[in-house]
Symmetry: C2
Subunit: 303 residues, 2 copies
């Protein structure tokens, strides 16, 4: 069966490219992805990378709209799309910029990211996931946590992103687990909820001891007192605990919507549960195309 999408939703991240083929009702017909992330491409490589993924579904007769969020709009991306500043609604198609294309039936619109002056912060892609949350619940007022390489906490009110804060938690975890001396002590799996919860508590209450507690993971395994799965759970817990201590103003006395890959979202939900914070988890694989559909249908609203 041939896929004939009405339009294509695109999330172009640093390391991945994800495409959802959408029908007229904004429903997903199919999904494809590739490892052609922004970081591996030069400016003139974006169209080729996109065509590798979707060329066979482009019609011969008319152009298809591609609505794209993420790093494709960064300075090192396909074409730079200037940030919107908070407070602002998640950007709509009226704020997108057409990417330069050679293919006659490709019409690519890249959405802007969102920036914040104080404290300085930026996002590219998460604003569209926030739009996806608003698409499902237009009256949503509250806090969204978007864990990942760079975890974002965003405060949403009156349909607008009011403020947000980014934590490099995921990237720091990856560097420590895979590139540091801890790679000899940290295992590939971390199914150890008690050690995780304990480390969350330590990370929250003694954040200054972070680099000492890192080395303690190494020393404990050298002295034979700790297995690799426990070490991984503790590393994850220390980092998430430290983040939760600093993100307190976002979650204190609130319910938190978590949008992120299941395993990682579970960790945040588990850590927040120990603090008495209720959470709801949404699947980014649904939220992102829903946000792109919302951007396509509406403007940015008033800021």
């Amino acid at each position: 069966m041939t896929i004939a999408p009405d339009w294509i939703a695109l999330d172009w991240g640093t390391t991945h490219l994800r495409a959802w083929f959408m029908n007229r009702r904004g429903e997903i017909i199919a999904k494809r992805e590739s490892g052609d992330g922004m970081s591996g491409l030069t400016k003139d490589g974006f169209e080729r990378a996109l065509l590798r993924l979707i060329r066979d579904v482009l019609p011969d007769t008319h152009p298809v709209d591609v609505i794209c969020c993420g790093m494709a709009g960064a300075r090192q991306g396909w074409i730079e799309v200037p940030y919107l500043s908070v407070p602002c609604c998640p950007p709509g198609l009226d704020r997108a910029i057409r990417a330069p294309t050679g293919h006659p039936h490709l019409s690519v619109h890249i959405l802007p990211g969102v920036s914040q002056a104080t404290p300085p912060d930026v996002m590219r892609g998460e604003e569209t996931q926030i739009a996806g949350v608003l698409a499902a619940d237009p009256g949503f007022d509250g806090v969204i946590c978007l864990p990942g390489t760079h975890c974002k906490w965003a405060e949403i009110s009156g349909g607008r992103i009011v403020s947000f804060r980014t934590f490099m938690t995921g990237e720091v975890f990856g560097l420590l687990a895979e590139q540091s001396i801890l790679r000899h002590s940290v295992g590939a799996t971390d199914a150890h909820p008690a050690a995780f919860a304990e480390a969350v508590s330590e990370g929250m209450s003694h954040p200054a001891e972070f680099t000492a507690r890192l080395f303690r993971l190494r020393a404990s395994s050298l002295l034979g007192a700790q297995d690799p799965a426990t070490a991984r759970a503790r590393l994850s817990g220390l980092l998430i605990g430290m983040e939760l201590a600093a993100a307190r103003r976002f979650w204190l006395g609130r319910q938190v919507v978590i949008v992120g890959e299941t395993r990682l979202a579970e960790r945040y939900a588990q850590a927040l549960a120990t603090l008495g914070v209720a959470t709801a988890q949404l699947d980014p694989d649904k939220v992102t195309p829903a946000g792109l559909a919302r951007a396509r249908m509406g403007g940015s609203g008033t800021a």
Copy 2:
């Protein structure tokens, strides 16, 4: 002129091998080093690596003693030398283990490292630098800070190492500056004392915000508000500030002896000066061979 050492002092680290040729009075005649660190060698490669560095000075008639500290005594090293436990004096030759050698005129003695049960911690090499401080000042009582990849703070009393704590500060700095997204924002030089001091203060007072302040370095450079030299100074300051907050019990109301590479030792001295802590800096290139000379002459003392 031929070098004819009475004995050879050796510091075998993870990434470097350093040899000092010593005369009968414990003075340095010459120094050599290579990149044959422990991490690049298999068990049977240590003797070859050492001979590459010193073979030409070995006499034909009698064995020369080589006194070695550091990672050569680790489990993955030349031969494992079990740790001494605190409280203990820096280990002397009576605690060393002979490494297996094939060369007839090579007699290699590897000193043990020191471990601590609570909190779990280990050192290999720094105990000998501590011995070097004690060699210069046998009555020394106080705190020694040994910055580096893994910075150690040690409390010395009555000639013994009473307790110590390791911080992965240097390794985390290297990973973030060179491997993370911050590599695009952080320059190669950091001559920016005011930004460094400010970041030390932030790291001390808001340690939980560590991963958020990391991303702020990235966002600030994307939003054009920060040059690469400032970013490097701030990254260094955040990490050292966080460490100083957790190491407070070591430096509060004390004078601190710093043993470390000049530039890094300067940073610690500068940060401690803002806290009203006086420091004295000693050169590891003198302290390490002095510690090996002390280990050679004396036993480990009583613990």
